[in-house]
Amino acid sequence: NAGVTQTPKFRVLKTGQSMTLLCAQDMNHEYMYWYRQDPGMGLRLIHYSVGEGTTAKGEVPDGYNVSRLKKQNFLLGLESAAPSQTSVYFCASSYSFRGQPQHFGDGTRLSIL
């Protein structure tokens, strides 16, 4: 049982390049989340999904897009990477929302030069 798997683990991009981060969960969870974690800022929610085919904006959605075409996958896209998007990105999932713990992947470390 792998839990939440994030791909890739590390990536270096040049400003203006695009890329997609993949999150996969094998727990049949309905809810999935993308966070970024920066020093001194804590975890901030980028986008989330409450089920297959749904997405919603979080606290810091600008510059990112997401898709949830399959229940087990949640993709985070950067269309034109900027140095301000250098961060560690975490994906999480939960069975439902009320009173449920979130299960996190081990993150993708992204540097934008």
């Binding site: 939440v4 804590g42 929302f97 009173g99 713990p101 979130q102 993150g107």
Partner: protein
């Protein structure tokens, strides 16, 4: 404005003692409060959840209290061990939307 505050400075505790971490919040009315552990280079791992109508929750050496009047949760690790060294995050769920809000975390060092 809404705030979640955890000890910004690292907490150093001698092995075997009880470590107590604080989570204070303002302008929130959480229905649930969660605590997570995060090790360097890893994602957060869920530890405990406490509901607004619960005063205390225990799991092995861990204890969480929740005081909605003081707007504070305390997280205790008894008989602390060096393996307990990590960053601990609190997270609030107001129960009104589909999001929880995380504090910035407190780094805990258990000294052998």
């Amino acid at each position: 404005s809404q705030k979640i505050e955890q000890n910004s400075e690292a907490l150093n505790i001698q092995e075997g003692k009880t470590a107590t971490l604080t989570c204070n919040y303002t302008n929130y009315s959480p229905a649930y409060l969660q605590w997570y552990r995060q090790d360097p280079g890893r994602g957060p791992v869920f530890l405990l959840l406490i509901r607004e109508n619960e005063k205390e929750k225990r799991k092995e050496r861990l204890k969480v209290t929740f005081d909605t009047t003081l707007k504070q949760s305390l997280f205790h690790i008894t008989a602390s061990q060096p393996a307990d060294s990590a960053t601990y995050l609190c997270a609030l769920d107001e129960g009104r939307d589909d999001k929880i809000i995380f504090g910035k975390g407190t780094r805990l060092h258990i000294l052998p």
